[in-house]
């Protein structure tokens, strides 16, 4: 099994509150991983520590054997990890197409100053917009889209950067059932093409149907992991969720 | 450099720090309730100083009496400013746009002062203007003592209002967690307006204190806004005690540095502190961690 995203003793405290507490996790590379846990169990903080949005206090994170602890977010992205945000974040006053073009990573001064929206980039962007199903909205301003469409746009933007591992923070949050099915189908398809997923999600039905591997967080650390069926019956998980 | 001189500078630094602390507390209030960086604070300070001077010119009464008018007036102006100007800005851009808006207010006030009172430097002459008292060998001007006393009283009053009254509790709740405050049935908009009013009232008191022992001119506010901004950044935005501590420390440092460096160069201490804070600890040394993102 190839090493994918792994953390060792990762810790982050805000003031006196320890949000992530010596978390040692290794996700299955090439699979759909789910990260679940009660509200406030530190899932989003964990995401932010791994992707460089927040500096962890101690511990390490590595991706495919390369240390990415305290690496700037854009370098984490360049290493092949893309992410979405809990409350869908897009560039509201750019068009849908521009939202995708902003994720193009040019190398060198010449490429930087070349015109944005070259034929190859636009072609690739249209491909992703078509995949998520909003290619007809290409010229619309992103803020005029519905919430569901914005979620799809965010996903297309993440994909435009061609990450091999994609971290999704609550992809089904605030989204209607039809769209949830669509996002799930997309995740399965992309996974079949070789992309790894790490998904934070509260919708258990979705988690159970979608994921190959589930990690359960409670109070900032993993308390159980394994295939969905095993985790579901784990007494520690039931206790964490139900407070038994 | 003698010990007495040093001691005298120290005392003067404390007196100056008191005024800084009062004004910085006002700035902190605006930032706390509305996430607004109020560039016009020191313009209102100078406006109050002019009103005190004008009052003294016209009536011959002590400028301190003008507080009876200026404090309520400024409070109302603050409430009005929040309601009519700040509240109109889009929430997403309120911090950035409010800087520009209050900057515009500052320019307007400066311009109007120049228009009405001309650019001439003004100074209040009082029977006790030249008087000073001996304080353990240090000669301290009486006007500076009065200014400090005024600032200290106002700060104490502000502290009591914030901690002992229902309004103060609502205000602090609004500062700490506006959504939660709303759930508790607090009308945060109203409270924000009152917070703004209180902030401007500190400028009224500060301005009168300033008029007692300073020469005033319309563009004077630029000399104040820099140090005050430095103080609230060093103090950690949104923290009243942090701002007060930073104000005292920087006031004392400025006063002590005047001995070897002269008055002009001593002012650079504020800017050095500002840049040092940003390099080392952008969230400020004494307070919240809002600084970087606000």
């Amino acid at each position: 099994m190839t090493a994918g995203l792994e953390t060792r003793e990762l810790t982050k405290a805000f003031g006196g509150v320890v949000a992530v507490d010596h978390a040692t996790v290794s996700f299955r590379h090439g699979k759909v991983n789910a990260l679940i846990g009660p509200n406030g169990s530190g899932k989003t903080t964990f995401f932010n520590c791994v992707t460089g949005m927040i500096r962890p206090d101690s511990g390490t994170a590595s991706y495919r054997g390369k240390d990415i602890t305290r690496t700037a977010p854009h370098r984490v992205a360049a290493a092949g990890i893309g992410r979405s945000f809990q409350l869908c974040r897009i560039f509201p006053r750019m068009t849908v197409m521009e939202n995708l073009l902003a994720a193009v990573r040019p190398q060198g001064i010449g490429a930087l100053l070349r015109r944005s929206g070259g034929a190859a980039d636009v072609e690739r962007a249209r491909g992703w917009l078509h995949r998520v199903g909003i290619d007809h909205l290409e010229a619309a301003e992103a803020r005029d889209l519905s919430y569901g469409q914005q979620k799809l746009l965010e996903l297309a933007g993440v994909l435009m950067a061609e990450p091999e591992t994609i971290m999704l923070d609550e992809p089904a949050g605030g989204v209607n059932p039809a769209l949830i099915d669509r996002i799930a189908a997309l995740v399965r398809e992309l996974n079949a093409e070789g992309r790894t997923f790490i998904v934070v999600e509260h919708n258990m039905e979705l988690v159970m149907s979608l994921s190959d591997h589930v990690v359960v967080f409670d109070r900032g650390r993993p308390i159980a992991e394994g295939p969905p069926a095993d985790v579901q019956s784990d007494p520690a998980v039931l206790e964490a969720y139900l407070g038994v | 450099m003698t010990g007495t001189l040093l001691f005298q500078s120290l005392v003067l630094g404390v007196l100056l720090g008191g005024l800084y602390a009062l004004l910085a507390a006002g700035l902190t209030l605006y930032f706390g309730v509305m996430r607004v960086v109020m560039i016009a604070h020191s313009a209102f300070l100078v406006l109050a100083a002019y009103l005190a001077w004008d009052f003294n010119q016209r009536t011959g009464l002590d400028p301190l009496v003008s507080l009876v008018v200026t404090v309520p007036l400024f409070f109302l102006a603050g409430v009005g400013m929040q309601r009519l100007l700040i509240a109109r800005l889009r929430p997403a851009t309120v911090t950035m746009m409010s800087v520009l808006l209050t900057f515009a207010v500052a320019l307007t006030i400066e311009g109007l002062l120049g228009f009405v009172y001309s650019g001439t430097q003004r100074r209040i002459q009082l029977p006790y203007s030249g008087a000073s008292i001996d304080f353990f060998g240090a000669r301290i001007a009486v006007v500076k003592l009065i200014a400090f006393g005024l600032a200290a009283l106002a700060l104490l009053g502000l502290f009591l209002v914030l901690t002992r009254t229902r309004f103060g509790q609502a205000l602090r709740a609004t500062i700490q967690h506006p959504q939660a405050a709303q759930l508790l049935g607090i009308d945060t908009n109203r409270i924000a307006g009152f917070g703004f009013g209180l902030g401007l009232a500190t400028a009224a008191i500060g301005g009168t204190a300033l008029a007692l022992d300073s020469t005033i001119f319309p563009s004077l506010h630029w000399h104040w806004i820099g140090p005050l901004m430095a103080i609230i950044v060093v103090g950690g935005l949104g923290s009243v005690p942090g701002a007060a501590i930073a104000a005292m420390l920087l006031g004392i440092m400025q006063s002590l540095l005047q001995l070897p460096m002269g008055t002009t160069w001593a002012q650079t201490v504020f800017y050095l502190a500002l840049f040092a804070t940003l390099m080392i600890r952008p969230q400020g040394f004494f307070g919240g961690r809002l600084a970087q993102r606000f």
Partner: protein, 335 residues
């Protein structure tokens, strides 16, 4: 079609600018035109960082002053030829802007504005106090680059020099606007964290834009020094100059190539008018303050979009994208 009409409009605009000195009735009008062109250079330079990244600097007068004093001091102290001094001063400011940018760009939003104001105030302090070098409040006389020219010719030459500089800055802004670099900068303006998560090296991008903007502003300052010939810290490191740049850019519209130029034209003419009518009173301060307040409150995107919005509202109603696409959404596009 549309692009053709644009080229025509551009050609007409350029021709009008180039022909202006020929129709200008007197030296005063010409000098006022030079002032307005210099404002246009400054606010367009400001817009390289302010417009693209949304980092609003109220202290760009710092680079204006440094460019002006740098040019003047290189000429008077080191005997460097005028225009070489201008270039060198631009280079010096570019180098200085790197550490300044690294410090200032660490903070966002209002903190950044505070820092930018502090920078002007501190430089004003230094240049006033450091009399031995800068001449302090006594001012600093800059030798004219073309001593043989009479006043009207002097204005004429600088009219074209400023116009050339403006063309250069506009070209730079236009190039960035359509480039991938520009797209990254705009992403920063929209949502900096998101941009970084998508792989945009935000800090490097911001710094590059900042240094470029400071350098252009410094060139504007240096050119001003050569034209005006007399510097005083109070006017060069003036908060007011910095706020003019912001006001002009916002008024015209920071998202448009010619927005700041339009703003410079409106505000510049108004300022000249106020100075003519009201002389040395502080009325221009009041006018600037009120105008800035109106722009911030009622048209934060500038007059160009505001006017377009008005026109669109009078024209045929556009149907909402949201409604259309909600229906589209039902059509299950993903298998």
């Amino acid at each position: 079609m549309r692009s053709a009409s644009r080229w025509v409009a551009l050609a007409v605009g350029v021709a009008l600018v180039l022909a202006f000195p020929l129709v200008s009735p007197n030296a005063y009008i010409l000098s006022a035109a030079v002032v307005i062109l210099h404002y246009a250079v400054l606010s367009t330079s400001w817009n390289v960082v302010g417009g693209f990244t949304g980092y609003i600097s109220l202290g760009h007068a710092a680079y204006f002053g440094l460019g002006a004093y740098g040019t003047a001091l290189l000429i008077t102290r080191a005997g460097v030829p005028s225009f070489l001094a201008l270039g060198l001063a631009g280079l010096v400011v570019a180098v200085l802007a790197v550490p300044i940018g690294i410090a200032a760009l660490r903070v966002r939003g209002a903190s950044f504005v505070i820092v930018s104001i502090a920078l002007v105030l501190i430089l004003l302090l230094v240049f006033q106090s450091w009399r031995e070098v800068t001449g302090g409040s006594d001012g600093l006389v800059v030798p004219r680059p073309f001593p043989e020219l009479l006043r009207p010719q002097h204005h004429l030459v600088f009219f074209y020099l400023f116009a050339a500089l403006l063309a250069l800055v506009l070209l730079a802004w236009w190039t960035i606007d359509r480039s991938r670099f520009g797209m990254g900068l705009k992403a920063i303006r929209e949502d900096e964290d998101k941009a970084q998560a998508l792989g945009v090296p935000t800090f490097a991008y911001k710094l590059a834009a900042f240094v470029l903007s400071a350098t252009f502003t410094a060139l504007g300052g240096g050119m001003y020094a050569l034209w005006f010939g007399d510097l005083d810290p109070v006017f060069q490191f003036s908060i007011l100059i910095g706020s003019y740049m912001v006001l002009m850019a916002l008024l015209g519209g920071v998202r448009h190539l010619f927005g700041p130029v339009l703003g410079a034209l409106v505000v510049g003419v108004a300022l000249e008018f106020f100075k003519q009518q009201y002389g040395d009173t502080q009325f221009h301060l009041v006018a600037t303050g009120l105008l800035l307040g109106v722009v911030v409150l009622f048209m934060p995107d500038g007059v160009i979009p505001a006017v377009r919005g008005l026109l669109a509202r009078r024209g045929p109603q556009q149907s909402s994208i949201r409604e259309v696409s909600a229906a589209e959404l039902q059509k299950e596009r993903v298998p």
